[in-house]
């Protein structure tokens, strides 16, 4: 019974992994499909799409827009969110509970509500929709995720470290930049990566606030009806490989460092 249970979870998990990976494999495979107009049926293997990726100009432009939006929204959200996270952990102020609620509410609000709300506001204020409004919207929903991620890091920071900095002749500014900030950096980087990923893949909120500008997901959505060009698969696959490579490098260097540590200790 015990042996069987052990065996079962390996099989079950392997099946779950395969399930998770099927559409990814499918998307990547069809980036090599020798398709003409629609990319639905497998017609043969080719590298062609990878070399001519920007010939379908709209795809590349949508991709570029998504990167710009992602970078700007991430910078904004990470800066604002980190500041809030530090304040929430380190200071007690009158409307602290109300503030916490205000920060977490966007996370419990369905995207379609956030999107519609912002769109209604832009409509009433007469703000023309476009890249600007997309960035504002993305910053909003990334902000809460940044606060949560960085807050955990701030909370786990040993206050004695900053005290030691002060004790060793560091002024408040020096203590912040030489001790607090470097210690928070892993959390801040994680929050920034998460923000970028959320922004890059967002469709629903974007769709309400994009006006005539096209991001990569909104391009895919509109193209879905008439068939998506293989170039979209190429871009998605390239992003996937890049992200996976980054994550694997990070994981492996961490593992190597652990091993080195174990040897030293």
């Amino acid at each position: 019974m015990r042996g069987f249970g052990k065996y079962a979870i390996w099989v079950y998990s392997a099946m779950a992994f395969v399930f998770l990976l099927i559409p990814i494999a499918y998307t990547i495979a069809f980036s090599f499909n020798d398709s003409r107009r629609t990319n639905i049926i497998w017609t043969g293997f080719t590298f062609e799409n990878w070399f001519t990726v920007c010939e379908a100009q709209t795809v590349c432009q949508a991709f570029g827009n998504s990167v710009i939006i992602g970078v700007v929204a991430t910078l904004l959200a990470t800066t604002l969110g980190t500041m809030i996270a530090i304040a929430l952990v380190r200071y007690r102020f009158r409307f602290r509970n109300a503030t916490t609620l205000l920060i977490f509410l966007p996370m419990t609000t369905p995207e379609v509500v956030l999107g519609a709300g912002l769109a209604a506001q832009f409509l009433q204020a007469g703000v023309p929709k476009g890249m600007g409004t997309i960035i504002l919207a993305h910053t909003l929903f990334c902000l809460s995720f940044v606060v949560v991620t960085v807050r955990a890091r701030v909370a786990s920071l040993d206050p004695a470290l900053e005290e030691a900095g002060r004790d060793l002749y560091g002024s408040p500014t020096q203590v912040f930049w030489r001790i607090t900030f470097p210690m928070l950096l892993p959390g801040i980087v994680a929050a920034a990566l998460l923000s970028f990923a959320l922004s890059f893949d967002d469709f629903i909120i974007t769709n309400f606030n994009r006006g005539a500008d096209v991001t990569f997901p909104s391009y895919v959505y509109t193209a879905a009806a008439r068939g998506i060009p293989a170039e979209a698969n190429v871009i998605a696959s390239a992003v996937f490989f890049l992200a996976i490579a980054l994550v694997l490098i990070a994981q492996l260097t961490a593992a190597a460092r652990r091993r080195q540590l174990a040897k030293a200790g």
């Binding site: 602290r96 470290l161 210690m183």
Partner: protein, 406 residues
């Protein structure tokens, strides 16, 4: 931002006097320190000893500048530093958790204070400090790659390298195992005599305080109960708290029934106990007197009454615990309760067993009289001191309560 106020340039040649004048520290809801006066002479190794929550860590944090006193003044080398910030004081701390910066190498950690003060040859000085604690070979490593004892020595080097007027040690050996503790106690003492700084050591470990410090102050409930050389404190405790916290004591209470020019006699539940006047804090009325367990002798039968010896008995041995060098007996005497006796194991055969009927005696010269009454259960064993976090939690809760009221 420039750091003009930071102590610049050279090192203190020797430690400086520390003076606390009427220091009071109140946290919302409780008072940690009440009207504390304390002078620590330059170059001494001073230990502040007390149980958790006695205010010793708060005292240390006040001196370091990590807390502000509610009232009173702090003087270092005669200069009032009460209003200055932590980074402006010529004081360095070895933190309980060591607080080594995990993102810096050992060398960067040790050189941190020197660089903040703008000292030119920071790195060579840091190496020198690391050589002092025999860890220069790990200068390039990160703190997590070091063992607990090594981290402790780095924390010490990081503080000592600044040649502070005063070095504060906050339970620095608390996280180490017993063997390493002993080793570090010796090393700390050596380093102190080598660099000649004033050390202020905060601990709840009486043995640590007694072996290392040349002056020990026993602190309780925000006040200093007694201060002096370790041996003096041990042999002649002034209060019941000191008698019980610093080692063990057998205490007896009763009225002074007679006194001569050199001694007084106390009637403790029918037993006459004689105490030299010079060793008693109070000479009349209801008093508490005591004797240390190792000064008490055991007898199989009632010893002959002799002048200069106090005798109690008969009692029954209710517990025997053998610990190698000595044996600890617990003898229950009617009207007096349990009395503890330490006997050196100078012979191989054990003389007394559980249930034996015995008599107790001790030299009058070894008895002492206290200034106060013994109260409640003795406090002798404490867990690691959680002062700092306790205070933080408490002050946070109180602040929150205060803000909610507002």
């Amino acid at each position: 931002m420039t750091n003009n106020d930071v102590p610049q340039g050279g090192f203190a040649e020797a430690g400086a006097d520390l003076e606390l004048v009427g220091i009071t520290k109140r946290f919302p809801g409780f008072t940690a320190i009440e009207e504390l006066d304390l002078t620590i002479p330059a170059g001494s190794f001073f230990a502040l000893l007390g149980p958790s929550g006695c205010g010793k860590t708060t005292t240390l944090r006040l001196i370091a500048g990590l807390e502000e006193p509610t009232a009173g003044r702090i003087l270092i080398g005669g200069k009032d530093v009460t209003a200055t910030k932590a980074y402006q004081r010529p004081v360095n701390t070895v933190f309980q958790s060591y607080a080594l910066f995990p993102h810096m190498t050992i060398l960067e950690n040790v050189a941190f204070g020197l660089k903040r003060r703008g000292i030119k040859n920071a790195d060579p000085l840091a190496h020198e400090a690391l050589r002092l604690v025999e860890l220069d070979h790990v200068a390039g490593r990160k703190p997590t790659q070091l063992s607990g004892g090594q981290q402790q020595r780095v924390a010490l080097a990081r503080a000592v390298v600044n040649r502070p007027a005063l070095l504060l040690l906050d339970e620095p050996l608390g996280a180490l195992d017993l063997k390493l503790r002993r080793q570090m106690q010796v090393e700390l003492k050596d380093i102190q005599s080598e660099v000649g700084l004033t050390f202020l050591h905060v601990t709840h470990d009486q043995e640590e305080a007694m072996t290392m410090a040349d002056t020990v102050a026993v602190m309780n409930k925000g006040r200093i109960e007694q201060m002096g050389a370790p041996q003096e404190l041990y042999e002649l405790p002034h209060t019941a708290f000191v008698a019980k916290f610093l080692g063990q004591s057998n205490l007896f209470s009763g009225d002074v029934v007679s006194s001569s020019s050199t001694s007084m006699v106390v009637d403790a539940a029918g037993t006459k106990i004689e105490v030299p006047l010079a060793r008693a804090q109070r000479h009349s009325g209801h008093v508490t007197v005591g004797v240390r367990p190792e000064k008490v002798s055991l007898h199989d039968s009632e010893p002959k009454a002799a002048s200069g010896r106090n005798v109690i008995g008969p009692g029954r041995v209710t517990d025997v615990s053998f610990s190698g060098v000595s044996t600890q007996y617990e003898v229950t005497v009617p009207q007096h309760g349990a009395i503890t006796v330490f006997v050196q194991n100078t012979s191989i055969s054990s003389l007394h067993r559980d249930g034996d009927s015995v008599w107790l005696s001790w030299s009058v010269d070894h008895a002492f009289g206290l200034a106060d009454e013994a109260e409640g259960e003795p406090v002798s064993r404490f867990h690691a001191d959680l002062d700092t976090s306790m205070i933080a939690v408490q002050s946070r809760k109180d602040l929150e309560a205060e803000l909610e009221e507002a």
